[in-house]
Amino acid sequence: MTEVLPRVRRRKRQDWAGYVFLLPWFGGLIFMIVPFVASLYLAFTDYDLLTPPRWAGLANFREMLGDATLHQSLKVTFVYTLVSVPLSLAVALGVAMVLDRGVRGLAIYRSVYYLPSLLGGSVAIVMLWRYLFGYDGIVNDLLATIGITGPAWTTDPDYALSTLILLHVWTFGAPMVIFLAGLRQIPAMYYEAAQMDGASKWRQFRSITLPLLSPIIFFNLVQALIASFQTFTQSYVISNGSGGPAGSTLFYNLYLYQKGFAEFDMGYASSMAWLLLMIIAGFTAINFLAARYWVFYDN
């Protein structure tokens, strides 16, 4: 990624000026590196904020092995991530492709689809979701008009998470805008040539659109996975802080919050944070490795 840096013309070095301009950023770096190291240390301690941390070795991690609530929160977070990320990216790509074909009123459609992605993380929208999908909510009323008896979305453990997955899909506008910008970069002559050779729409998608768009799909995927693993507001608001019903919306970060800032078990919360970091790093690494096989760079 460092090739992004512009080549600055050769001239006298300006070390002092560079460092002065970077002063606030250096401060920020310390503000991140010190807690980063401190949290690794705390992960191996027993700490309640009132008494000094006590070294506990691997005790926290051993406790995590047998913590059924933690396992539940991992399951919720994984299911949510593995369903909602591909689903919303697929919708984003599909809609972007329809919009890309020179639709009249593109700007209006784009705005309407994009606006929800700015609101999806807000407390008001998650609260709205809770009541839209509530037992007596408007979604079931709408389903009833076409003869379907809807489930008790937010109170049935089998369905509660799916409301949040739908909320995530509702925010497909952000990746859609990025896809749209990417599609615009694909020269139209490729499609013209393919058409001349009699390639079907599907074939054009497989052989032109997908490869040329793959760096952007990859970028969106990495971003969305990292963000999705850290979901908090949705989980907190939809269950009013409990992660219920029956732990079905207990996301990893909500459990971390409960452990660290309700029970003040900060050693355990730190070790949880590091496990999450490892999981995210693992997924990102797998992504980058797999990228060699499916991401196509033109140059």
């Binding site: 990624m1 992004v4 840096l5 512009p6 600055v8 001239r11 070095r13 070390d15 000026a17 560079g18 301009f21 970077l22 606030p24 950023w25 770096l29 503000f31 991140m32 807690p35 980063f36 401190a38 949290s39 705390l42 904020l49 329809v98 919009l99 074909r101 020179g102 009249r104 009123g105 459609y109 705005s111 309407v112 609101l119 807000s122 008001a124 929208i125 609260m127 709205l128 979701w129 509530g134 408007i138 952000a174 749209l180 910008a181 990417g182 615009r184 694909i186 020269p187 139209a188 058409q195 952007i216 970028f219 990292i226 907190y236 608001v237 900060m266 919360a269 730190s270 944070a273 970091l277």
Partner: protein, 296 residues
């Protein structure tokens, strides 16, 4: 990673497909589909606005989008339903958002100028570290940061929410500005130097004024993300007088038994209105920004 919004070889309106021999679906079908998706996307928001002017006892029984009975009193009652009048929360949020925007613009533009325009030892290393911090999940830092803010007595103040913005901790904005400054001709800097400007005057007099579009993008994104921010205020603010708008709105859930549905949706809409307003005003910059950095 930088994308432009114009098609490379064909003007935006040029037909993509030459008419082929196969039967073509009529054009309007696509519009029906796109409009249908649009209606589904907007429906929750419209329902919320409609619910905000329905009497509380008919919010869940009067199903239509157009209320049978209007009750605009929801806004007045909702405004004073919580511990503090709602303008307190709005002002709190506004203060935090304004200072966060100033902080981000100052600190990130300084860093971006160094990365984009200056030559100094360690530039590449620092830039790589900056990109690295963009991927770092914030929750790894939150426990020690909380402990630190607790020790220096900053709980129940706005410092924990503001200080990170003055320290350029959000790499996305730096990245955005580096991308933008890179597109400005280097000759500007050279000319300024020949005229006797040092790096600081060049930055302040030449580069800053040209970066207004990138600053606008940064400001709008900062506004929206800080306005919606829930986790940090939840963590650091426990005094209701200091609550931000999201914390205030959430309190309506604790009063579920009192059936203040109309009031709740009225204040929910008040909490979203500034974001929607900023979106409408700053769309151009948002779309450009998101296409440059993938920020959301």
């Amino acid at each position: 990673m930088s994308l432009t919004l114009t098609r490379v070889s064909t003007p935006p309106d040029a037909p993509q497909q030459a008419p082929s021999g196969r039967k073509r679906r009529p054009r309007y079908l696509r519009h029906v589909l796109l409009t249908g998706v649009g209606v589904i996307m907007m429906y929750p928001l419209l329902w919320m606005v409609s619910a905000s002017v329905k009497p509380s006892n008919s919010v869940f029984t009067d199903e239509g989008l157009w209320p049978a009975v209007f009750d605009f009193g929801n806004y007045a009652r909702g405004w004073t339903a919580l511990a503090e009048p709602f303008e307190i929360y709005l002002v709190n949020s506004l203060v935090i958002v304004t200072l966060s925007i100033i902080g981000n613009l100052l600190s990130c533009s300084l860093a971006a100028y160094a990365f984009a325009r200056l030559r100094f030892t360690g530039r590449r290393l620092f830039f790589a570290m900056m990109l690295g911090t963009m991927m770092l999940p914030g929750h790894v830092l939150v426990v020690p940061q909380y402990v630190m803010f607790d020790k220096i007595g900053w709980l129940n103040t706005y410092y924990p929410l503001l200080v990170p913005h003055f320290l350029a901790t959000n790499g996305f904005y730096i990245f955005l500005m580096v991308q933008f400054m890179r597109s400005l001709p280097q000759e500007l800097d050279d000319a300024a130097r020949i005229d006797g400007c040092g790096p600081f005057r060049t930055f302040w007099k030449v580069i800053m004024p040209l970066c207004v579009p990138a600053f606008a993008t940064t400001a709008i994104f900062t506004f929206i993300s800080v306005w919606n921010e829930f986790f940090s205020p939840l963590l650091y603010l426990t005094d209701p007088q200091l609550y931000t708008v999201p914390l205030a709105v959430r309190q309506f859930m604790d009063s579920e038994g009192q059936s203040m549905w109309g009031e709740m949706f009225a204040m929910s809409f008040v909490s979203l209105a500034p974001v929607i307003g900023f979106f409408i005003a700053g769309q151009k910059y948002l779309v450009r920004g998101i296409a440059t950095t993938g920020l959301r």
